[in-house]
């Protein structure tokens, strides 16, 4: 009867898996704002890659408890962050890399998240270089952020649009945690 037991387990897995849904957005950086809002509200969410039909090659979505769909989408709509689509999910998406590497150059500190690096003068907290990335908002972000103190520079999660901006924001948050803004 082993086979019967296995089938039962699969059914349970399936039942469990459809309790989660995905919020799909046009830009990865919208997800940063949504993530912050939903975490502050105490929802059990994950930021993950969307399913293949929504992939362009630079995408991010939010996995959430499907039972909260009406409340969450209603709240997001009122604050201007309505998703472009909502769907149930049956498999887990990949999560963005949150690992950080840092390199100390004496007066300067460089932090890297995925493919994005940010370097700051430790004495003045001024951003002196931004490197890496491949999406076109990266040179734009560099233009907007270079030469500014960490606390004065725009947040790449707010003015960027891509996964590179998402990673740059991860690196920026870490460097602020390490040396302050």
């Amino acid at each position: 009867m082993k086979w019967f037991k296995k089938d039962k387990k699969t059914d349970e897995d399936k039942k469990e898996s459809v309790t989660r849904g995905l919020l799909i957005f046009a830009h990865p950086t919208t997800v940063i704002a949504v993530e912050e809002v939903l975490r502050d509200e105490g929802y059990d969410i994950r930021v993950v890659s969307p399913p293949p039909q929504y992939r362009t090659g630079c995408d991010l979505s939010v996995e959430f408890p499907l039972s909260e769909e009406a409340t969450i989408t209603g709240m997001l709509k009122t604050i201007g962050l309505a998703p472009m689509d909502v769907m149930p999910i049956t498999s887990k998406g990949m999560e963005p890399l949150r690992f950080i590497r840092k390199k100390d150059f004496g007066d300067y500190l460089m932090v890297r998240a995925a493919n994005m690096k940010i370097t700051v003068d430790k004495r003045t907290k001024v951003i002196v270089n931004i490197s890496g990335g491949g999406c076109p908002d990266v040179p734009h972000l560099a233009t907007e952020m270079l030469g500014k103190r960490l606390r004065d520079a725009p947040n790449p999660g707010e003015i960027g649009f891509s996964l590179c901006a998402y990673s740059l924001n991860t690196a920026r948050e870490e460097i602020i945690r390490l040396i302050g803004g």
């Binding site: 890659s49 090659g57 890496g132 491949g134 040179p139 560099a142």
Partner: protein, 288 residues
């Protein structure tokens, strides 16, 4: 003709195609000054200087403004897929662009229809979309950095941001990442891996590892990778084989860095000033 294509961070700049000129502040295409000195502009300046140094015709640029909203990237994709067969391009370098799997495949379809296919170099977003679409084999050279070669080694990641942690932690073993990237068919014949040690690879083998001169402060400087892609483009356009072009570019980048005497706050335009001298020196080293 060497055509350099990509998005530039100027919101709403329309699509422009034309010969690249060098100015005191940056580059100019069809009367449009681009003085950003990073990303596409740094790559194009490097390619221009290399072409001049090695006697090749000045490169052409195909650009459109895009600060991440996809508008300019879409124009570049569409222009290329509609017009590439009639442009007379022998070397095509694709650079910063919002990844768009469907539109990139249309460009590749257009290239597949050409009798004389261009030599294809990809970096930045163009390399991401090529890998994620499973199309790396349609290209000739990729120029990843350390974070990007981990992405190329990860058959499941759609973007460097999704590189799985256990692969990200393999960065102290770059030869293994290179082996994995070739095994997964996520890279073209030739790759230049930029890092503390640069690796020039062809057909799965590491042909050359370059680690001297070692200028530690080059790593944080935004745009140094763009210079390498630009030099390789110019050298291939001047008739150098892929591996030799990569070797000259690898040495020249380090020599230019050494001549600049940079700090982590140095900007890439300071390094660009030393590129012609560095290229001459590097060509002598590679010629033996």
């Amino acid at each position: 003709m060497l055509l350099l294509a990509g998005a530039v961070p100027v919101d709403k700049l329309p699509l422009i195609i034309g010969k690249i000129e060098l100015t005191d502040q940056g580059i100019k295409i069809e009367g449009n000054d681009l003085n950003i000195n990073r990303g596409f502009e740094a790559m194009a300046t490097s390619a221009y200087l290399t072409c001049m140094e090695f006697g090749a015709e000045a490169p052409h640029g195909l650009i459109a403004g895009d600060i991440g909203k996809r508008d300019g990237s879409e124009k570049v994709y569409e222009y290329l897929s509609d017009n590439l067969p009639t442009l007379g391009v022998s070397v095509l370098t694709l650079h910063y662009i919002m990844p768009d799997l469907k539109r990139n495949k249309k460009i590749l379809e257009s290239i597949a229809s050409m009798e004389n296919k261009p030599f294809m170099i990809a970096d930045a977003g163009s390399m991401y979309v090529a890998k994620t679409g499973g199309d790396a084999g349609c290209y000739d050279i990729f120029t990843p950095d350390l974070g990007e070669v981990a992405f190329l080694a990860d058959e499941k990641a759609d973007h460097p941001t999704y590189t799985r942690g256990f692969i990200f932690h393999m960065e102290n073993n770059v030869p293994e990442l290179i082996r994995m990237a070739y095994a997964a068919k996520n890279v073209p014949r030739t790759i230049f891996v930029k890092g503390e040690t640069d690796y020039i690879c062809q057909d799965g083998e590491i042909l050359k590892a370059i680690d001297q001169p070692c200028v530690d402060a080059m790593e944080p400087i935004g745009g140094t990778g763009d210079l390498i892609t630009g030099m390789i483009s110019g050298l291939v356009s001047a008739g150098k084989p892929a591996a030799e072009a990569c070797m000259i570019a690898g040495h020249a980048n380090r020599i230019a860095g050494m001549l600049t005497k940079p700090t982590p706050a140095t900007q890439v335009q300071d390094i660009l000033k030393h590129l012609p001298e560095a290229l001459r020196e590097a060509a002598k080293i590679v010629a033996g």
